[in-house]
Amino acid sequence: MEAIKRKKLKEKIVENIFLICACVAVISLLAITFFVFYNGLKPFVSNSYSLWSFLTGVEWRPGSNLYGILYMFVGSIFATLGAILIGVPVAILTAVFIAELAGSKVGKLIRFAVELLAGIPSVLYGVFGLGIIVPYVLKISPMAQGESLLATILVLAIMILPTVISISETSLSTVPMEYREGSYALGASKIQTIFRVVIPAARSGIMTGVILGIGRAIGETMAVMLVCGNPIAGIPTSIFSQIRPLTTNIALEMGYAAGVHQELLYSTGVVLFIFIMIINFTVNKLVKAKVGS
C-alpha cells in the first residue's frame, strides 16, 4: 500500500514539475512584458518626459534632452512597407514555382537554398548590405552617403524572402488536388489554375506568411543598423534619406545610456512591442480563421 502511495506521489510531483516547465513560457512572456513596460512607462508616469513630445518629436538628441521618436516610427513603417512591396511578390512567385512548377529534385534544391537563406544570421545580411548595396546606392544617390531608406528596404526585402516563401509554399501545397483537377476539367491552363484557383485558395496561409514577414522586417535590428544611417533627426523625405528605425535606436544607445535616456529607450521598446503584439494577434486570428473554415 505504502509503496503504491509513494509511487503515486512521485508521479504527481513529476507531473507538477512538467507543468511548471510548461508555464515558464508564460512566465517569461509576462516578465518580458512587465519589465519592458515598467521601465518604459516610468518617465511618463513620473513626469520626467512628456508622452506627447516623445511620440510626436522628430529629434533624438539625448545631449539636449530631446527624445522624439516620430521620425523613427515613420522610418520603420516606410522601410517595412518598401520591403514588403519588393519582397512579397518575389517570394510568392518563388513559392508558386516550388509548389506547382518545379520537379521534385529542383524543388528540393530550391527549398534547401531557401532554408540556407533563412539560416544566415542577420548580421551577415547587414555586412552584405554595407559591402554591396550601400556603395551601389551611393552611386545613384544625390546624397553624400549610401546608408539610406533604399538600402534598408533592399536588405529587408531579401531578409523576409525565406519567411514568406516557406509559409506560402506550405499553404500552396495543402490546397487539395481536386481544386486543380476541377479547374483543368473546365479547360483552364496550368497557369490560369495557379493564379485563379490555387493562390486564392491558399490566400489565408499566404497572408500569414506576409504578416510574419512584416513582423520580421519591423523587428530586424542588426542588419538594418549597418545600412540605415541612424540620423539624429528628420522624417525621411526620399528613398535616399537616412532613417533610424525604432529597433536600431535601442541597440545603438542602450550600451551607455543612463537615467531618463535609458528609460526612454525602453519606451521605444514599448512602442515596438505593441506593434509586434498587434501583428501576433492578427496572425493568431488568421490561423484560427483558417482552421475554422
Binding site: A25, I32, F128, I158, M225
Partner: protein, 401 residues
C-alpha cells in the same frame, strides 16, 4: 492566342522571381566568401582578436639556414596589417630565424616593428617556454619587441641582428602574438550554446511533455501555446531589453555569459517546445497503450517508451537551437557585450562570432574581416542544416515502419 501569350508571360515572371531568389542567395554567400576567404586560415581560427604580449625563454643555439637567400626574401610574413616591408629580412643564426622590419598596422595606428619572417625547422624558437616552464610557440609574423631587456624600438634591422647574434645562453625575448583571429569568439559561442541549451532544453522538453502527454485541452494549454507563439514572434532586441533590465540590472549578473545565455534560453524555449511537441506527437498511441498495459506507470512510459522514440525530433530541436544561438546578435549585444575575450567565469562578458562580425563591420569598418567571420558562421549553419536534415529523416523513417 492571347491566352497562350499570357501563360508564357506569367510563367516567365515566375521563373524570373525564382531566379532572383536564387541569385540573391548565391550573391550573398558568394560575396562573403570572396571578400573573406583570403583572411581565413589556421592562424585566423586559432588566434585571439586582441594582440597578446608575452615573454618567452629560448636556449640560444646556432642553426644554419637551409634555404637560399633568394627564397628567404620571398618569405614575407603575409598578413593584411603589414603595409610594407621596410628592411630585410636578415637571417640570424643563433635563433635560427629571419627577421624583417615592417610597417605594422593595428586598427588605426601604424608603427615600425620587427617581425619573424622565417623560422627554421630546428630553431630554438619552436621550443620556447614561458616563465612557468609551459611550452610556447612562436610563429612567423610574431612581433619581436626586445631581447634580454634591450628594447629594439627605433633601431635599424642590422643593429638588431647584431644585437641578437651577440647574445648567448638563455634568451628572454618579448614577443607579441598578432591579433585579428576569432578563437575567443568561437569559444564564447560554444560556451553560449552549451549554457543556454543546459537551461532551455530541460524546460522546453518537460514543457512539451506536459503539453502532449498530460494536459487536457482547455484554457491553460491554450494560454501556454499562445505564450510560446508570442515569444516566437518577439524580435530579439526586445529580449535584449528584457535581459538587460532583469538579468543584468535587477539580478546583478552584469553584462556576462550568464545574462546572455539566460536571455537566449528564453528565445530558444518556443523552438524547443514546438519541435519536441511535434516529435512526441509522431509517437503512435499504441506504444503508450502497450506500455501501460504491461503495468508501467505513466512516468515510466514517458521516459522508457515515448522519449526514446522522440530522440531524433529532440535532436532536431537541439540543432535548430544551436543555429539560433550562433545567429543571435541583437539580444547578445545588450546582455553579453562586445569584448573579444574568452569569458573566464559565468559572470564575465564575451562576444560571440555574430556580435564580433557586427562590431568589426560597424566600429572598424572592416568588411573583409566581418566576411571572414561570416564564412565561419555560414559553414556552421550549413553543417547544422545538413545534420538536422539527417535527424529529421530518421524520425520519418521511424514513422514509416
Amino acid at each position: 492566342m492571347g491566352r497562350k501569350m499570357k501563360d508564357v508571360l506569367a510563367k516567365s515572371i515566375i521563373y524570373l522571381a525564382t531566379g532572383i531568389t536564387l541569385c540573391v542567395l548565391l550573391f550573398i554567400v558568394g560575396f562573403i566568401f570572396v571578400k573573406g576567404i583570403s583572411l581565413v586560415n589556421w592562424d585566423f581560427l586559432t588566434r585571439d582578436y586582441n594582440e597578446k604580449v608575452f615573454y618567452a625563454f629560448v636556449q640560444e643555439e646556432v642553426v644554419p639556414m637551409t634555404i637560399d637567400a633568394a627564397s628567404l626574401s620571398q618569405k614575407d610574413p603575409y598578413d593584411k596589417r603589414y603595409e610594407s616591408s621596410l628592411e630585410g629580412p636578415i637571417y640570424i643564426e643563433n635563433i635560427g630565424a629571419a627577421i624583417a622590419k615592417v610597417a605594422y598596422k593595428n586598427n588605426a595606428t601604424e608603427k615600425e616593428q620587427f617581425v619573424f619572417s622565417y623560422i627554421e625547422k630546428d630553431s630554438p624558437l619552436l621550443s620556447a617556454i614561458d616563465s612557468t616552464g609551459k611550452k610556447l610557440s612562436i610563429g612567423t609574423d610574431y612581433i619581436l619587441e626586445s631581447i634580454n631587456g634591450t628594447d629594439f624600438e627605433g633601431l635599424s634591422l642590422e643593429d638588431v641582428a647584431a644585437q641578437i647574434n651577440h647574445e648567448t645562453g638563455e634568451l628572454k625575448i618579448k614577443v607579441v602574438q598578432p591579433g585579428g583571429g576569432v578563437r575567443s569568439n568561437i569559444i564564447t559561442t560554444l560556451y553560449m550554446v552549451l549554457v543556454s541549451l543546459l537551461i532551455a532544453l530541460p524546460l522546453g522538453i518537460f514543457g512539451a511533455i506536459y503539453l502532449t502527454e498530460y494536459a487536457k485541452p482547455g484554457r491553460l494549454v491554450n494560454i501556454i501555446r499562445f505564450a510560446a507563439e508570442c515569444l516566437a514572434g518577439i524580435p530579439s532586441i526586445i529580449f535584449g531589453l528584457f535581459g538587460m533590465a532583469f538579468f543584468v540590472v535587477a539580478l546583478k549578473f552584469q553584462i556576462s555569459l550568464l545574462s546572455g545565455s539566460l536571455t537566449v534560453a528564453i528565445i530558444l524555449l518556443p523552438v524547443i517546445i514546438r519541435s519536441t511537441e511535434e516529435a512526441l506527437k509522431t509517437v503512435p498511441t499504441a506504444f503508450r497503450e502497450g506500455s501501460l498495459a504491461l503495468g508501467a506507470t505513466k512516468l515510466q512510459t514517458i521516459f522508457k517508451v515515448v522519449l526514446p522514440c522522440a530522440v531524433p525530433g529532440i535532436a532536431t530541436a537541439v540543432l535548430l537551437s544551436i543555429g539560433r544561438v550562433v545567429g543571435e546578435s541583437a539580444a547578445l549585444l545588450l546582455t553579453a557585450g562586445t569584448v573579444a575575450q574568452i569569458p573566464g567565469t559565468l559572470f564575465s562578458p564575451g562576444s560571440t562570432l555574430t556580435v564580433q562580425a557586427y562590431y568589426v563591420a560597424k566600429e572598424e569598418g572592416n568588411i573583409e574581416l566581418a566576411c571572414a567571420i561570416g564564412i565561419v558562421i555560414i559553414v556552421i549553419v550549413i553543417v547544422l542544416n545538413i545534420l538536422s536534415r539527417i535527424t529529421s529523416d530518421k524520425l520519418n523513417v521511424f514513422n514509416k515502419k
